[in-house]
Structures are given as structure tokens and as C-alpha cells.
Amino acid sequence: MKTIPPPCPEPEVGPKYWRSLDQLAEKPEFRQWMEREFQAGASLAPEGEARRDWIKLMSASFMLAGLGGFATGCRRPEEHLTPFAKQPEGYVHGKAQHYATAMPTRGSAVALVAKSHDGRPVKLEGNGLLPGSNGGTDAFTQASLLNLYDPDRAYRHTKAGADVKIEAVRDLLTETGRKFAANGGEGLIFLAERSSSPTRARLQEELAQKFPKSKWFVHEAVDFAVSNQALSVLYGADVQPDYQLENARRILSLDCDFLGTEAEAYRLIRGYAKGRKPAKDAMNRLYAVESLMTITGGNADHRLRVRPTDVVRVAAQVGVAVLELLNEGGELASTLKSLSAGTPANPQWVAACAKDLVSQKGNAVVLAGYTQPLAVHLIAHALNQVLKAVGPVVSVIKSSEARNDGTIADCVSALQAGADALIILGGNPVYDAPADLDFSAAARKAKTVIRWGYYEDETSQMASWNLSATHFLESWGDARTANGTVVPIQPLIEPLFAGLTDIELLARLAGIDKPLPLDLVKTTFGTDEAAWRRFLHDGFQEGSAPKSLEASTAQLGKATTLLAAYRAPASSDFDVVLHRGASVDDGRFNNNGWQQEAPDPITKVTWENVILVSIATARELGIADAANASDGQYRQPVLKIALGNRVVEGPVWVQPGLADKTIGLALGYGRKVTGRVGRGSGFDAFPLFLKDSRHIATGAKVSKVAGRRLVAVTQEHGLMEGRPVIREANLAQFEAKPDFAKHMDLEAHFPHYVPFKAESDGRNVDKRPQNIYEHPYDQNPSTVSKIHQWGMVIDLTSCVGCNACVVACQSENNIPIVGKDQVARGREMHWMRIDRYYSHDPKSELGSDAAAEDPQMAVQPMLCQHCESAPCESVCPVNATVHDDEGLNVMAYNRCIGTRYCANNCPYKVRRFNFFDYNKRETDYASAQSQHFFNFGNLYKGPFGQNRNEAPEWEIVKLVRNPDVSVRMRGVMEKCSFCVQRVEQAKISRKVEVGNSGDVAVRDGDIRTACQQACPAEAITFGNVLDPESAVSKLKHDPRNYSVLGFLDTRPRVTYLARIRNPNTEIVDAKIEGRSGPDSLRDYERHRHENPFESGHGDAHGEQKHSATPVQKGAA
């Protein structure tokens, strides 16, 4: 058959190629020659001798054709190994490289070390070199990596919706700059996110000079700057606080979730945890006055539940008491006295708290939360002044942020006055501006709206130009951390979608010719090349932090005047608190699957926000049964919150510990224009976010709406049921009996306590009962490594439950996102989870219901415990989960057939099964629940569904995978591996390092698991338990050390240090009488009728009473 090859498409533009001059001339002879299949002479039959040759030739070619066809059919797709034309310095194929960089945040930055594999960043870690840093980060930082590879990010520049090339964008910027240079910037308005970048500040200064009439406004929906403003009032200059909480012995939080959603929470957690070592006079004490139930309240030693509008009254009341105790009366005291009128707080509580703060004068600090008005911050900073906290705990430093001309409200008035061009630098004001400003209508008045953003979102829709922003891992830049240290932002990858950095944008506007971001940053930094290299290497500029201001320069008078003018809002109807979403921030992480799936630290709700109400309020509204989902499906009633004619609707969540008549709404959900991940997640709370009330709205009306909505939670049961899963005691109890944790649960009752046989080799330092079966290691001692035995200790006193480890683990170990529908079915894949338990004392006078309103909370990171005698291993029929010689319980994914028996037999329920091919799931509608009986939502549907893996967008999603960890297919069980890839890398490095010397034991601290690394509280310690000097061994000898469910004799390698609370003995918490120990301990006593502090209890059965029995003698 004659085949005519299709004509080769010629590019419409660009050079034309021709084979010969004939083709160029389009001669008919050439056309004929082209169209003939066989060239002249080819169709002539051969004759004579040639016939034989012809037959030979043909047979050979048929054979070859057959072979070739066969061989071609079997071939793998052709791949080219292209060597580097120029080998990059220090590059070893397959070996990760690390670069110092930073993630810019609101007016600050997180200094980072990014791990890169073959030019592809795959993991972010905090920069431990930075003074005072331990390398810990928060969940947002960990998840920001996924944003880089988000297929839904703004991948193009557009003009009126049509794609334009970056060259056109550059021209536009230059043109705009030129145009406004002519009129001094008349009608040029900037609306930017907060930034701490010195380069940006420099360029902003240049712009201000060039366009003196232009205006620069700053907008952040969740703006932490209110604290800076209050401090600036006191110091009469633009200053910001920087906290060294490690020096604080007493902390009072005024609605400040500094362990959770507050700015720089990871740094505050670090300080808080450092100051929380259970020892007399060394352990800090945390008082929390709050309206919502937050991580901070949950960790507090004393928590006072008040309505958000009453926080200022309680703050004033505490202020009065403190000033009284310090004999500092004056105008401030009287102002505060009048402000405290109508306070709901128990005076005894306040008096005891104030006394405690004053007793630790110099080491006591008061923190105020961003949701609270300026007045509360003024009180907090004033109290810090009088408590002499400034200096030891609070540093007051000059603000590094560039000046601005006002807020978004000013921007809107400027726009309404008429503007030529509005340049929006980041942020999403159409979505998150105060609703009563009607920003989008105002913005439409500008002739041109140029928007530089990371996503095509609500704001993009009204912008005439949309410029795609780079990720911080794609761009050069700089920033300042909270204490003002300059850190570099250096790219690890070329911009994936030809994005633009903000500094390049500003530089072009400023008329700088060919502004390369690198040069711009270098110009700011200076010319010292050696210092520059050091800057990039260390990830910070030493000594760049500004000096702290003297405390004496503060003037309380101005604060007093402002406070005197302040009228505390009267509460009416319901108060609404609009807070930063713990997972999606103000919406900027809305399209981030890791964050969407990371459960809220308190409610454990994923993929959406809920309307939080207290138990009493729920009862009042007639929806108290909503808390009870005995069938595991939380189909929540829907509430309507109305503030005037602004209405928000969403599923309700009954939250113990919430203030009555208070509604908590997380911001950042319900986006109208977002990527495929965030679509359909939650409801938009911004309609209630108004320019005057901002985070706290009063006078809301709440009503029930018909229907129910499914809410996906990762933890359905919040009580420990008297089981000593988390073992806690008060500091005084701990001091009386430091090893109380060992005397709880059933292991305290075993008849014979014998010292663990292998104590000498350090495998397990706890005293253990003898099992009727031989310990697996004793069966075959030759296979047990004498060099390394890995173990982990988690300090429950330090851990606050911030989720950083959960997301870090997800990032490190390629853990798939499963989507809301699957979470609702109980199939989340997190290898590491944070269990959150409430406890309340049902014996209290108030009865269990009222007591449950003020619960105590405790959190416990739960991961594979790497049991020495692992229940999962013996039940796996195919030997897919086995022990290695260094004490790891390892999964052989290739071997696993997925019987799930191991998961059933795991007492800690840490094994996770791939019920579907989650790695091939569609990104679409991840958050939407399955709408249809036959629809399993967002899953790979096997041969019956379209395989979205073939879609090109998956090529980019795949890039986030850590190449050191395999990606699991469906039908396979998975679980925490103790980051075995990190362990092995460290061992290999050590072997290379020591050569033939044979000292191959990895140095303590060389291996940090992903969770440990990310933990800002340093609650997780991993290491070699064979080495008695290792940190983990020492902690295993801590008297607080215990194993969860130790009586099962699974001998977990992960052990926990009991949680110690440090309550004030003078205080009777809230309204609950007789809280003498942690509620969970009292609950345990009530269930088990025993108390670890009773003399001799628990330890009695073994060591003391029966110490003379023959068994004991024999074993000893």
C-alpha cells in the first residue's frame, strides 16, 4: 500500500527550511519526486543473476523487518543519558544537596535549609545555624513545598484573560514606570502584602522618590501587626516585639494562641518548650484567657474561658491586680479599673494569677492575640513594662518593614478618589478584604489593575493584567526574621512557569534596566563577596539584627490615654471570632492538599471549617446531639450566622472549652476561585469580616438551617476512658514520685517484676514483666546489631500538638493525600498523627456536663512504636513486615499483599492501608464529598475510570516526591519507618568517613527523623539506645519514661515522657472545685480505683513485696 507521509507541519512563523533549491522554487518535478513512494528504478523487476540477489535481499529484509518489528515492540521507550556539559560543583548523582534559603511570611521569614535532589527541592527544614534556632518549623513551612509543584498555580501571565509572554509583561512594567515617571506617580496605587525584604524596602524607597505622588498600602487579612502598633505607641517609634519565651517563668496569654495560629508560633513554641522542663522553679506556668479552644489554652496550666469581648475586661482586671501588688497606682491603674468593669472573671483567679506574675517579676510575660483589639495589646505591653519583662523576655526592636500609607481601607478611599493604575502585590484582597469595604467595586475604578499573584484567584478575575509570581524556592530575594536578622532567599530551581519576582517587578517600575533579582539582592547586601558567600552558605547575616531598645524609653502615658478613650464593646447576642485557619491560614494554603488534610489541632476536622459553638450554646440552639456521631459519620446540622444582612452558613461543631454565646469561624475556606484541591472546601467566613470589628464581631444572630453536612474528622473519640494513654501529674506530685508513670496501667500489677534481661545492652531500660514467649531477639541473638539499636522518646510535656511533624512526615515520606471523602471514611494515610484527648473530672460539683465545658487537654504524637515484640509481624502471612537487625519494624512493600491483619493487630493503630491508588487520584473535587451512590469521589477508578495519571499536570505533582522513599501503590500497608532512608544515609556517610577504622557507629544527633527535625519544641528525640551517652538513652532513663500499653509487652522502641502540669496551688481553676491533680489522672483513679501516688502501689507486687521469691532470685 502506498503510504504518503503527512506533510511536515511548517511553523507559521520563524525560519523556513528547504531540502533543495527545487523545493524552494516549488517546482512540479520536485513535487512529483516527493510524492513517489519509491524512487526511480526501484520498481523495475530485476533479471538474471540479479534475481537471486533480489530474493536474498528481500528475505533478509523481511527477516530484519520481522526482527526489527518484534524488537521494536519490546523495547522500552528510548531514554537519553545526557551527561552534564559542565559538571556542577559538588554534584554527586543521587545525593541530595542542601541550600540555605528562607520562606517569607507576614513581615518576617522562616530561615530554611532546602534539600534538593537533582535540582528539584523536595524537603524544607529550618535553618539550625541561625542563632537560637533548633531547625524546627511550622506546618505551613513544611507544606509550602507542595505549593511549588501545584499544577493549579498561576502558570501564565495574562492580559484580559489571554496569555501573554513574559517579555510583554516586562514591557508593560517598563512602560508603566515610564508613564508614571512623567507625572510623579499621580494615580499610581500599590496594594501589597507585608514584607520584610530589605531589597523590597530599598526599591520601595526608590519608587517613592521617583513617584512621590504614588501611594503604597498594605493589606493582610490576618494581620499580626496590631501587637507592633501597640508597642510602637509605648515607644513612640516603629518597633516590634521579639519574645524569648525560654526566659519566661510565668506566661499570661490574653486570647493569644502563641503555640498555634499566632505569628512566629514555631519560635514561641521553641521558647515555651525550653522553659517547660519539669523541675522546681525552672518550669514555666501558662495562664490562658481565651474565648476559643486553642492549642495554647489546651496546654495552659490554667485556662479561663471568657467571651472574646470580655478579654479586655479580664486583661484590665489582671492589670489592676498587678499594679496594686507592685504599688504602682497612678492613672494607668484607674484607667484599667474602669475598663475592667463588668468582668466575668473570678476575682480569686485573677488575684492568684496576678500574684504569681508579680512573684516572678522580670520573668513573667503577657501576650495578647491578634484577634483582640489594640487596647488588649496596650495592656499586655504595659504589663510587660511594669513586670520588667522587656529585656529578659521581650526585646523591642526597630521595625524593619518599609513605611506605608495606610491600610486597605485607605486604599479603597484612594481608589474611589480615582486612580490610573492599581498594582496588587500578592494577597487576595477581593476575597479577604473587609467585606464592608467592597474592595472589588473600588478596584474596578482604576483604569488598569496589575496583579502579581501566585494563584489565579478571586482577585485575578477583576485584574486586567495578571502576573504569575514565583515561589520563594524559584526566586532570589531576602527577608528579615522576627528579630531582624537578614536571611537570603535563594532559588533552588528555575521558575517552573516563567514567573516574576516582586523585586524584579518593582525594579522595572523604578526604571532599572534589566534588573536581575540576584543583582538587586546583592546591591542591597553590599559588595563584600566573601560576606555574600557566607551569607548564602549560613543562611543569615550575622549581626544584622537591630539592637533591642531600652525598656526605660517606654512611655506608658500614651497607652493610658488611648486606653482611657477605649470603650470595651458590650456583648450582645453572639460574639463571632474570625480566626486564622490552622490549616489554610487566611486562604493562601487553600489549594494545598497537605494542609487541607492536616487535621485542625483541636477539632481534628479536615478539609473545611466548621462553626464552633460551646456545649451550652449548642444545647440552647437545640443541636446538642450534633456532638454525638455514634455511627462514625459526622453529619452536622447547619447554622446560619447573620450579622445585619451579612450571612454565613456552615456545619456546626460542638467544641468543649469554647466560651458560651461565642462562635468560632476559621478564615481561608469557601474560596470561589481556587485550584482543584481547595474547590468546595468549607464556607467563606469573610462576609463577617468588617473593617471596624475585624476578627471579633458582636451582635450576631444564629439560627438553625435545614439539612446536614458531612464533616470529615480524623479522631472521633476525644476521651481517654480512664486509660493511662497519656500519663500526667502535677509538678508537686511528680516531685514526690518522679517515676509515677511506671506505676500505672496493668503493668503495675504483674506479679513478677524482673529486670529486663538485656538491660546491659541497652535495648530497653524499663523493667519489664517476663513474657511466656521468648523475646524475638533472644531467639536469634546473632542477627541483632551490636552497633545500632534505634529508639525514640517523645516528651509529652514539651509537645504542644502543632502539626509540624505531621506535615513534615507527609513531605518526607511521600504520604498521599486522600481527600475529604476518604477521611470521612476513616482512611487518612498520615504515618504520624497527633492524638488529642480531653479530660474532665466528672466528680466535680458541677456534674459532668458543666465540667466538660472546661476540659483539660493533652496531646500525644502517635506513630509506629517499632515494638521489639511486634504484634504486626507475627500475623503477616507473607513476611512483609519484619524486624531488621537494628530494631526497626520495616515494611517490605513489594512483599505486602494487603491482608490488613497487621493493622488489626496493632494496638496503637498506626498502620495505614492504601485502599485505593491514592497516588493516582484526581485532584478535582478532593474536598467535595462523594455526591453519588456509585461515586467513590475523587479516586482512581481502575480500568473503569479515566486514568488521570496521564494528564500532564501529574508530571509536576510527581516532582514533590522524595526519591529516597518509594511511592506505594494501592493494596499495600504502610507506616512510619523511623525515616529509614535518613538512617541509612547517615550510616553510609559514617562508613565513608571512618574508612577502615571500623568505628561505624553513627554519632548521636547525626540522624534526625523528619518529625524530630521539624519539631520546634524538641519534643522528639531519636537515636541509638545502645549508646549510653546518646540523648535518647539518657531520656529512656528519665523517671518519666513509660511505654504506652506497656502491659502488652510489645516493648515499643518509642517511649513517652509523662506530661507534667504546673498549676498554681493557690488557684482553684475556673469554676471547678478540687482539681488536685490532672483530670485524666483523676479519671484513671476513678476507673481503676488506684492511684500511682499511693505509697507502694504498683511497684509493690514485684520488686519490694516479692523480692525474696525464688523467681526473683533466679532472674536476678
Binding site: 455514634s630 476521651l719 505486602c896 499483599i897 491482608t899 490488613r900 491483619y901 495505614r912 477508578k941 473503569f944
Partner: protein, 493 residues
């Protein structure tokens, strides 16, 4: 067993030579001696020829009108199950309602349910054979067939419930073969024991059933009117010629298989119970499980035998062969095993309290009063209360009531496995991981479809094979007893 041979010989050999027109329709009756005054196992003094004609006639005549709709309906169910299994394997186990913490639910419930049903067949054919319970002969063939079909249904679930079925069936994973990686299966795992136990049980049951079929297959071969039937039955009759040597070998083989099967009756369900008993899940970790599971299996197995045989008996007019006495005796077994099961339920609670483990105690409290209390009390109603109706002889002798109770028993036994598996798993040690299991439509219809498979096989069985052991029934007629006035080679028949 010479009498059996003689009787069967009469049936298979001599029947053809008799002139049916001159044969007396009913034999003359002599009063049996006192010691034989029991109700005979075949009523109405049916002749041996009648027995052969009646039983062989079922699979020789065209099937009655109800058979075809029943078959189409069952085959439809079977096809539905296989389609859903294909969906499951192609898409993922997630199409079922399983979750964390309930990683097993309907899959293993169905497996244990079907395996349990299988127990009655082997018990009837082997244990009752060794105990010389002659009444077994009327029911053992169909009970054994039921066993095989139940094992077939049971075998499907543990295979397809795995995440990667293709590896589960691949040699070297579950099937121990030496391989290059020198990895063996984990011999400590009860799931592996299950593989051996169930496959052994299935194989032995099949052989036992087949051996018992040989003389009857020969009868069918000899009665066959078409070449195809002659060939088909002849092929499987293995050249049976009814010779004394054949009978002698046959009896020996049958006895050996009965001996082999008897321990299997106890072992299979004991091993299945180890899936739970060997684990450390509160509510599973119980030493009472092996005996209690075996009793429960016999309980449910007899329930299923009654569910099948009571309609069969009416539809094919087999009242004289499967008599009310048979039904009554089976009811007694149900009463006995049901009481054992009820005792075990009580004892579990006692031990949970007496054992002193709060985790164990909670598991049982949660069973009875937790979110799955409805399942627990359904189970108690069906399994503990309903069998006690059989203390009344009147009720035992009323087939329709017995049939209803037998169905209730099977529902109850399904719930028993569901309760054990799901209520134990859904709330174990750490309250943070507590959850709830809800089945999906795929769960439900796969289980329903497994009844389609079971019934399809059973309907094919009665279509093509003698549903009652002809030779064995003849051996227990009075005529086969040489000491009986009607029996022996006395030439009176």
C-alpha cells in the same frame, strides 16, 4: 457392612431384571422384633427399587418448573458477585466500607460464615458415620455437597479481600515454595494456617464426597438412556462394577476418609478461630474461641442443611426418605450446639470481668451496649433464644417452623461473626483511633451474590447428581437388615 453391599447390589444389579408389573407394590409386613421397634429410617416400607427410582429419577427426569427460575435467579446473583469482585480487584479494596480501625468487616465475616456452614456436611458424613448414626444416610450427600459449595464461597472472600490479589495467589507469597529470595511465608501467622486448613478441608471433603458418589454414579450410568449420560457418569464412576472387591475397597476408603475428615471438622474452625484468638485485640484474644467456633459452625451448618433440605424434601416428594425424624434429630443438634454457643457468650463476659483487664471488659461492655448493640442483641435473639424453641417436640416436628428457625439461626450466626470482628476492632486500645464501620453497597451485594453462587452450585448438584446417597439409604432400610423380618436374602421381596 456386607448388608449394605447386598442391599445396594439389589438396587443396582437386580432391579433391572425384575418385572415391575408383577412386583408387589407394597411388601408384606411382619411385626419387627421389639428391639427394632424404632421408627424406620425409610417410611412406608418403600422398596429398594422405589428408592433408586425416586432418587435417580430426580436427575433423570426434566427438572420441575420451579427449577429454571430458581437457577436463573441464582446464576444472576452469582454473576453479580463475580462482577463486583472484578470491580473490587480492579479499583481497590476501598469500594468496600472498610476503614481504620475496622480493617476487616464483611469480608472475613462472610468467610467465617461460609466456612462455618461447611461444617455440618463433614460432621454428618464423617463423625456421624463413625458413630454409626444411620440416620445420616438420607442427608449426608446433600450436606456434603453443601459443604463443598460453602467452602467455595468461603474461599473467595479471603482471597479477594487482600489488597493485591495477584500476589496473594502467586506462589511464594502464601504458597510456600522455595524461591530465589529465600523468603518463606510467615508460619506464625494464623492467616497462613487458614490457607492450609481450608485447602486441606476442601480437598478432603471433595474426595470424601466423590468416593461416596461412585456407586451411585455407577447406578446412574447403568440407568442412563443417552450415550452422553452414559459416558459422563461412566467416566466418573471409575469403572465401578459392583463387585465384592470394589465394595470392599470402597468401604475401606470411605472409612479412611471418615477418619481423616473427623479431625478436620474440629481443626478447620479451630484454626479459623485462631485468626482472632491468636491476636491481641480485646474481644478476639480469647481461649474459648476454638471450641466455641466449632460448636457455632456445627450450629450454623445444621441450620443451613435444614434450610436446604426442608424445601427439597417437599419439592421432590422425599418425605419417606427424609423423614420428620431426620428433621427432629437435626433440631436436637441445633439445640445442643446452640446451647453451647449461648454458654460461650456468657462465659466470654464472665472471663472479661474475671480476667481483670479493663480493656477486655470494655470490649464486651461495648459489644452489648455500644454503638453495635443492635448487632449484638440480634445475634443473641437469633442464636441463644430461638434454638430453645426446639425443646418442644411439636415444634421440632413442624417443618415450616423448623425451616424458619433454621434461617434465623443462620442470620444469627452471620451476626455472631460480624459482632466478633467489627465490634472488637472498632474500639480497641487507643480511644483516639476508635471508629465505626458502615458497609457500602458493594459489601452488601457481594455477600448477597455469594448466595447466588452457593445456590447455583446446589441447583446444578440436584440437577445432575443423586441428592441422596442411594446405596447408603438402601443399606439402612429394614430390607437391608438380615435380622429384620423383611430383611436379608430371604427371597421375600
Amino acid at each position: 457392612m456386607a448388608t449394605a453391599a447386598t442391599a445396594a447390589g439389589h438396587g443396582a444389579g437386580k432391579m433391572g431384571s425384575l418385572d415391575p408389573l408383577n412386583a408387589p407394590p407394597v411388601l408384606k409386613i411382619y411385626d419387627p422384633p421389639k428391639e427394632l421397634e424404632r421408627e424406620p429410617l425409610v417410611l412406608n416400607n418403600r422398596s429398594l427399587g422405589w428408592i433408586t427410582d425416586t432418587i435417580a429419577g430426580i436427575c433423570e427426569k426434566p427438572m420441575p418448573a420451579w427449577w429454571w427460575p430458581a437457577f436463573i435467579f441464582s446464576a444472576g446473583g452469582m454473576m453479580m458477585m463475580f462482577s463486583l469482585v472484578a470491580y473490587l480487584i480492579s479499583t481497590g479494596v476501598g469500594v468496600w466500607g472498610l476503614n481504620q480501625p475496622a480493617d476487616w468487616a464483611w469480608d472475613i465475616t462472610n468467610f467465617v460464615f461460609w466456612i462455618g456452614i461447611g461444617h455440618a456436611g463433614t460432621l454428618i458424613s464423617a463423625v456421624l458415620f463413625l458413630l454409626r448414626q444411620k440416620w445420616r444416610t438420607s442427608i449426608n450427600r446433600s450436606a456434603e455437597a453443601m459443604t463443598l459449595f460453602a467452602v467455595a464461597c468461603a474461599g473467595i472472600f479471603p482471597v479477594v479481600h487482600t489488597g493485591r490479589v495477584w500476589f496473594a495467589l502467586y506462589p511464594g507469597f502464601l504458597i510456600p515454595v522455595p524461591n530465589a529470595n529465600a523468603i518463606w511465608p510467615q508460619f506464625l501467622s494464623p492467616l497462613l494456617w487458614d490457607v492450609f486448613a481450608v485447602s486441606t478441608y476442601g480437598t478432603v471433603s471433595l474426595l470424601f464426597w466423590y468416593v461416596g458418589l461412585i456407586p451411585d454414579l455407577a447406578t446412574l450410568r447403568d440407568r442412563a438412556k443417552t450415550l452422553l449420560r452414559k459416558f459422563g457418569y461412566g467416566l466418573f464412576a471409575l469403572g465401578w462394577t459392583n463387585s465384592n472387591r470394589h465394595w470392599s475397597n470402597y468401604e475401606k476408603a470411605y472409612l479412611i476418609f471418615a477418619g481423616l475428615s473427623t479431625p478436620l471438622v474440629l481443626s478447620v474452625h479451630s484454626i479459623v478461630s485462631f485468626d482472632f484468638a491468636v491476636s491481641q485485640v480485646p474481644g478476639w484474644h480469647t481461649t474459648i474461641f476454638p471450641p466455641y467456633f466449632v460448636a457455632g459452625a456445627i450450629f450454623s451448618g445444621f441450620g443451613m442443611v435444614l434450610t436446604l433440605l426442608i424445601p427439597l424434601r417437599s419439592l421432590f416428594n422425599l418425605h419417606d426418605i427424609i423423614t420428620k425424624r431426620h428433621i427432629e434429630l437435626m433440631c436436637k443438634v441445633i439445640l445442643a450446639t446452640g446451647s453451647i454457643v449461648g454458654y460461650a457468650y456468657g462465659m466470654e463476659f464472665f472471663i472479661a470481668w474475671y480476667g481483670g483487664s479493663p480493656y477486655e471488659l470494655y470490649a464486651f461492655k461495648n459489644r452489648a451496649f455500644g454503638p453495635y448493640a443492635w448487632a449484638y442483641w440480634s445475634m443473641i435473639t437469633c442464636n441463644v433464644i430461638s434454638p430453645h424453641l426446639f425443646w418442644s417436640r411439636t415444634l421440632r416436628m413442624t417443618p415450616i417452623i423448623v425451616w424458619c428457625v433454621s434461617i434465623v439461626v443462620n442470620i444469627g450466626m452471620w451476626f455472631e461473626r460480624f459482632v466478633i470482628i467489627v465490634t472488637s476492632l472498632h474500639r480497641d486500645y487507643l480511644p483516639s483511633s476508635w471508629g465505626y464501620f458502615t458497609p457500602t453497597w458493594v459489601d452488601v451485594f457481594t455477600f448477597v451474590g455469594s448466595f447466588g453462587l452457593f445456590m447455583t452450585l446446589f441447583l446444578l448438584f440436584i440437577r445432575f447428581l443423586p441428592a441422596i446417597a442411594i446405596s447408603e439409604v438402601k443399606a439402612v432400610t429394614p430390607q437391608a437388615d438380615p435380622h429384620h423380618p423383611q430383611g436379608g436374602a430371604k427371597g421375600r421381596h
